[in-house]
Amino acid sequence: MATFVSYPLPSLPEGWSAEKDFKAVGKITADGATQRTIEPVGPHFLAHARRARHKRTFSEDDRIQAQERAKNVEEDNDDDISEPEDLMMLNRDAKDWKTQDHYKVLGLSKYRWKATEDQIKRAHRKKVLKHHPDKKAAAGRTEDDNFFKCIQKATEVLLDPVKRRQFDSVDEAADVEPPTKKQLATSKSYKLWGNVFKSEARFSKVHPVPSFGDDKSSKEDVENFYNFWYNFDSWRTFEYLDEDVPDDNENRDQKRHVERKNANSRKKKKVEDNARLRKLLDDCSAADERIKRFRQEANAAKNKKRLDKEAAEKKAAEDAKAAKEAAEKAAKEAEEKAKLDRESSKKAKEAAKTAVKKNKRVIRGSVKDANYFAEGAASPAAIEAVLSDVELVAAKDDPEEIAALAAKLTGLKVADEIKGVWKEEVQRLVAAGKVKESEIKAFNA
């Protein structure tokens, strides 16, 4: 940490003195700092972050870290394998090793199948140091090697992977009981079930084992979990519970009989174990709120689809019906309207015809009233000429124009006025190009 400088420090000048030998002269210059960002990388940054977040100074942090490290070392040595030894266990007969709890004998009962080989070795050593028969002999108790034998047996079993598996298979103390109904009612049910399956997972041939998850697990995860467990591949065996096979050579039949019996019993136990796991899973899935929820959601989704479809169909049918009705109505209306139109146009035509007739009568009458614009009795030729002109004008004029002309002529009795009106009409027609001036004979006069 410290760097060394070989150049010597100056000697203290004569007469230098200060309170507690320290004299503050200045301070870091005002612009002595730039705000910059440290890269959050590396072990020293971790230390920096730790100090900054816990507001520790360098020396405080050093002290706390040192303490933590020291504690770790201690734990490594001691804490993990120190368990009180009860008297019952100490007094066990080594002959009954089959029924002893090897982990408990070594003081590893809180680790069990999780204990590492290193832990087992260290635990063994620790127990040996304490219970070695020679030590006990030194204390005056001779031939007290019973518990020592238990320790040796336990180590023998636990350090042999095959034997350890056999023991782990029947290590009931490592089992976690499934939660009761009462416990399930609480919010902890996910954790409780999770622990059950964590302990069951020790038998799995396949790793990693999917975790039970919690309330927020996705459908996929949950399905994955149950699929895994319903197809669980277990290495659990029950050899450990075998009856001892008599090893005398005399009775071979007896030996075979026991072997057969053992094989059958293993098989039976395996089947029972599978059934047990199956039941556990059934219970678990039956009580699993997530599955219910997923099912509801799926149903809701399905129903929604169906309802949507139905609604869409209904709507389509209604739309079609409405459209058809509308079309029919429109057709009917159109027909009625056409009929009405036909009738009204017929009437109008007739009315127009009668009006034209009437107006023509008026205009014809007007020339007659004017005595065919002749003084005294009009000559037949003059009458003929006037009438032909009138007919010509009447033929050229529209019914409206005839009506207008008739309106102008009605009430006029004086011949000149009538003639003026006629002349006007003729001039209008000539101007409109409907009649040639030459065709008009009488009104031009």
Binding site: E39, P40, G42
Partner: protein, 576 residues
């Protein structure tokens, strides 16, 4: 994985370091606290960042790279830099030989056939989707190597990645079922890779990290202060890159081919792809040996082509590019307000850093005291291509046991942004001739709070000593050639001078003569304002005095001085 879950619990994590580069990617893990770069199933530690689809089959890495020649329409390369960018701001130059990027609603996408079957339509995949697929392949490789599913990673990013690009990368990783523990900048990962070596000492130093990649060069000046890293300046370049060196070789061999056969192989896309692939291989061969062969079967119009090139020739034709690298490094040092003399270490990283010429050019820029860490200049140098991945893996192993929440809080700006001293703080000691010299204890650009300790020899006869704490800063002292040398050599030097003037580039000894004539520059400390004085009394003869300077977060300074091995000592505080 559901959206609500933040990631695996710290105990269940398997974390690796990933370098997701524009040209190449790497994955690394830690074994017994030592970083190790993982080779993928093809045996590659540098995995080309390329995905290729052939009949619905996905290829990545070296295999996909081989398909750039035969299947460019369904191969995507150089897509990392497009992550989180809008189409209008991307540079598609390097995608010319593979699928071209497309504008889809302003963002970048690629259209290729990733499904089998003749009549399957081509799908348009966003750059995030492509990244996700590529990251998934990397994670699969790592998982196969480690034998357990990789859940988390630290990924390196260039220093100029903005928040949007970071978010896009994190999202792409998440879609590949990968928790991003942290994104760390590439130069810092590189420094960490070197600092994590067991033999490395944590000293205060200025490091220049030159990351020379295939399509981009990033140079950063990093202040390493007590293992805390602060980036002082960065520069990014897209011109002076590995691809530019390839280009030089491509043109060189293309010209040779034209001379022989009157055909330009660069005009045909497939010929160009073959030429590019072989040029890159030749470049790599030239980094290792002084001669390399170049041979392509059926380069153009069925004509095979074979040639050789030596390193000298390569260095001559690629000189403009090499000089560009040097200029880039110089510019960033200037940008940081430093001098080449301030730089203690130059680390070359990235694939292009293998090229020996770049390292030797940089060696000429920097003084002899500056360590240039590259394979050609230092025997202990770590493979430059692996540095970033190693750094990321080390960081991953450091933080994998923390909750995601903890990591987020620790990397928050409130923790990372702190004042850095501009001046050095040190003590005054005496040279043999009695001159006062400045002994730096806290270097400039040190993040506070900082604590530094220095042990200084006491005067020969012991007694009471004065500890004078002062500020200091550096300046570059230029020493003109000493006239004494000239006087001693007399006429000789004069003659040499004349010769110098006449001869441009002649023999070596003349060159060295000329070097002696050059002015010398060296870094010198200037003593600034005095901060405090303290006295340590009755120091034994030949003892040492330990001075600890503690700069607190509020810039107040605590000074402790005591004789090594003795009790008591002096302690005082300067208010901020």
């Amino acid at each position: 994985m559901s959206e609500t879950r933040t990631g695996p619990a710290p105990g269940d994590r398997t974390a690796i370091g990933i370098t997701f580069g524009n040209s190449n990617s790497s994955i690394a893990c830690t074994v017994d606290d030592k970083a190790e770069v993982i080779a993928n199933e093809d045996g590659d530690r540098q995995i080309p960042t390329i995905l290729s689809y052939v009949d619905g089959e996905e290829y990545y890495g070296q295999q996909a790279k081989a398909f750039l020649v035969r299947n460019p329409k369904n191969s995507v390369a150089y897509f990392r830099d497009f992550l989180g960018k809008e189409f209008k701001s991307i540079d598609p130059t390097y995608n010319h030989a593979s699928v071209h990027p497309q504008d889809v609603d302003g963002s970048v996408a690629f259209t290729l056939k990733d499904k089998a079957g003749e009549d399957e339509a081509a799908s348009t995949l966003s750059v995030s989707e492509i990244s996700t697929r590529f990251l998934r392949r990397l994670v699969t490789s790592a998982s196969e190597y480690l034998g357990q599913k990789v859940t988390s990673a630290v990924i390196t990013i260039p220093t100029n990645f903005n928040d949007k690009q970071k978010a896009a990368l994190v999202a792409a990783a998440k879609a590949a079922d990968l928790e991003v523990l942290q994104l760390i900048s590439e130069p810092v990962a590189v420094v960490l890779a070197y600092d994590a070596r067991p033999e490395a000492e944590i000293v205060d130093k200025i490091v220049v990290v030159a990351d020379l990649g295939g399509t981009r060069s990033d140079v950063a000046v990093v202040a390493s202060r007590g293992g805390l890293y602060t980036i002082l300046a960065t520069a990014h370049d897209h011109e002076f890159v590995g691809a530019a060196l390839d280009k030089v070789l491509i043109n060189h061999f293309a010209k040779e081919f034209i001379k022989k056969h009157k055909i330009d192989p660069r005009e045909n896309a497939r010929s160009l792809a073959k030429l590019t692939a072989e040029s890159e291989a030749t470049k790599k061969a030239l980094s290792l040996g002084t001669n390399a062969s170049f041979s392509v079967e059926s380069l153009a119009e069925g004509i095979d082509f074979q040639s050789t090139i030596n390193r000298l020739r390569f260095e001559t034709v690629a000189r403009p590019v090499f000089e560009g690298f040097s200029r880039l490094v110089e510019s960033v040092i200037k940008k940081a307000g430093l001098d080449v003399l301030d730089v203690d270490e130059v680390i070359l990283s990235g694939g292009t850093a293998h090229t020996p010429r770049i390292a030797s050019n940089l060696g000429n820029i920097f003084p002899a005291s500056t360590a240039i860490l590259s394979p050609s200049t230092s025997a202990t140098a770590i493979n430059p291509s692996e540095l970033q991945a190693r750094g990321a893996a080390l960081q991953a192993s450091l933080i994998q046991e923390y909750e995601a929440e903890d990591i987020a809080q620790s990397t928050h700006a409130a923790v990372t942004t702190v004042p850095h001293t501009t001046n050095a703080i040190g003590v005054i000691s005496l040279t043999e001739s009695g001159e006062e010299v400045f002994v730096p204890v806290v270097q400039p650009e040190t993040a506070v709070p900082a604590r530094r300790t220095v042990q200084v020899a006491a005067p020969k006869n012991g007694g009471d000593v004065l500890i004078k704490i002062v500020e200091g800063n550096t300046h570059i002292k230029v020493i003109k050639p000493e006239p004494k040398v000239q006087a001693a050599n007399g006429t000789n030097s004069k003659a040499a001078k004349v010769e110098d003037d006449n001869s441009g580039e002649d023999s070596d000894d003349e060159f060295s003569d000329e070097e002696e004539e050059e002015e010398k520059r060296e870094k010198a400390w200037k003593i600034g304002a005095t901060l405090a004085e303290a006295a340590v009394r009755h120091v034994k003869k030949g003892a040492q005095v330990e001075v600890t300077i503690n700069v607190n977060a509020d810039l107040s300074v605590t000074v402790t001085a005591r004789e090594v091995g003795a009790k008591g000592g002096v302690r005082g505080t300067l208010s901020a």
